[in-house]
Symmetry: C2
């Protein structure tokens, strides 16, 4: 049993993009435009077609069972438009994920995009989070630590600004993957810089703040192998120590988890060496940021299962934790929902 905790619907039918383009056109005409909901005219067959030769084929080829699935991250675009833009766009994206999970309950478990907007209190995301969890059976959310899209104009994750949302997450028993979206800052390539920086930044915010004293059961997944963090684990341990903070294990590792989206063997080995097995969740982010075949290995860069399988010193118990045990623990609602592999 292998659960991939990090998949986005990057192959959604073109009507979704047309929906977004219609929003963009209206915003161009009037930036203060109050968006409204439109129906998404997508058939079940179109959804099937978008997945069969992509995520589902890859699941079969790589022997993974269930993907924790959310809207395309780079497409969340929280910096675009206003609160109403983000609301209707997020609702549409989430409804489409719901349909995917209904069509393939054994293959996908839903995670929602939140209707964040720069400068708007994150409490505005609670209604959509509740709808996705309670009505759709979603098991988590993606939380953008920088809704400004690369200018980082909002408060850090440890600020009370975010607390109402955290309270709801704890009440619902759902974790968040800390995941930025696209970058509108020309300094940051989205998947090559902004993503990785977002991961690194979030972790360092959590070292300096006391968030988990206030929310002892709140859980965050830091994607892309934790950004730069495992590579600089000595730096982070040392910085925490110099600041008089508790050891990282005690300070964070009941609450913070890393996925395994690291696209080469030495990186995966570092991750497995440095981060306790209890804190690593298998993931590949397919179909995602890197789509090619590594000429040095003849395999897809993002075939992360292959790297983990190649690590002969990883114990069977740790492998089980990484491949599914931790995902079930961190995404506590996984057992309760339609996509539950235990039910399969």
């Amino acid at each position: 049993m292998i659960i991939d905790c990090h998949g986005h619907y990057t192959t959604a039918p073109k009507q979704l993009e047309e929906y977004r383009n219609r929003q963009l056109a209206e915003l161009k005409h009037d930036p203060a435009h109050a968006a409204t909901a439109w129906p998404l005219d997508i058939s079940d067959d179109q959804i099937r077609e978008s997945l069969e030769n992509a995520q589902l084929r890859i699941q079969r080829e790589r022997g993974t069972d269930l993907t924790i699935f959310s809207p395309r991250a780079v497409g969340m675009g929280h910096h675009i438009g206003n609160e109403s833009t983000s609301r209707y766009w997020s609702e549409s994206c989430n409804e489409l994920i719901h349909r995917v999970c209904e069509l393939y309950p054994r293959n996908f478990a839903g995670v929602c995009q939140l209707p964040q907007t720069p400068g708007v209190r994150p409490g505005n995301c609670i209604a959509e989070l509740e709808r996705c969890v309670n009505e759709f059976g979603f098991i988590g959310c993606n939380l953008n630590p920088d809704p400004s899209g690369g200018y980082w104009t909002g408060p850090p994750l440890t600020d009370k600004w975010w607390y109402p949302l955290y309270e709801k997450m704890v009440e619902l028993g759902v974790p968040a993957m800390i995941h930025v979206s696209g970058s509108c800052n020309p300094n940051f390539h989205a998947t090559g810089a902004h993503y990785i920086n977002g991961d690194t930044t979030a972790f360092m915010q959590l070292i300096t703040g006391d968030l988990f004293k206030d929310f002892p059961t709140l859980k965050f997944i830091i994607p892309h192998g934790g950004g730069a963090v495992p590579y600089h684990w000595g730096r982070y341990r040392g910085l925490a120590q110099d600041m008089g903070r508790p050891p990282l294990k005690e300070l964070l590792l009941n609450n913070v988890f890393f996925d395994s989206c690291v696209y080469h063997q030495p990186g995966i080995e570092l991750l497995l060496k440095v981060i306790p097995a209890d804190n690593i969740l298998f993931a590949s982010e397919v179909v995602g940021a890197v789509r090619g075949i590594d000429p040095d290995t003849g395999h897809y860069y993002d075939d992360t299962r292959r790297y983990i399988d190649s690590v002969d010193w990883l114990s069977a118990a740790d492998r089980e934790k990484i491949f599914h045990g931790n995902a079930r623990r961190v995404y506590g609602r996984l057992g309760a929902r339609c996509g539950d592999p235990a039910r399969a």
Copy 2:
């Protein structure tokens, strides 16, 4: 012979801080205040005292010979004040580095801070770069890719905005370490997030641009082990490939180098495994970001020589390159200046 390519004068006599505080006070009174130069009343003995029990003691203890030495990075503060603030502050900091190098020519080789200011064309840094190289014998500069201090409001490093400075660097034959300064953005802890993000961001900018077609001999050192880059080397190789860029080795590795400021054994091993030995320069950044002793090893986190010495599969030839050969090659003026260890 061991050259540490990354040291900052973090222990400067308190008069330097007083100088800065005087600038800050004047700016508080009048943000448009045109700064002027004041003399720094620091004696040679005070300089000796600031180094003897810090950088020099550590050089002796760790068996390193020469430190490539620049003003305190977090103190550059290019986002503070205006162009005149940055000019006089940089000049003062650089003059102090010059005095250090004059007092200890065998221990230190100078690298300058540039008087960058957000929104001001980097051509304004040429006069100070020329002064430092031609009059003081400095061998390089630190280039801040984000003079806004964490808001990234300027253009990327590949933009023609920077070209006049690059032209002068090439003419003078000096490389730049790409090094951000302090962060005035509450999202970014300086040494825990902004530094590492700056490194990662710069590398990705260089992948997407064609800077080294225009400047085939321009050389950059990316500090802190290259930020997240070596850990995500597969991601960067794959992204370049997906974008139709040449392989990274061909695209960048004649021009881009990584230092070894990675503060734990697995991180150093990853760096040495993934990045060609020709592209790694020994560095520790002492006295720097992490000052404590790792309770797991009993040694200083930043004692990076120890990690490299422990890698038994590193060939003697590669070790020589990393410890001094590459530094002499990248900092081409090292042989010509007073601190030349070959002269010692």
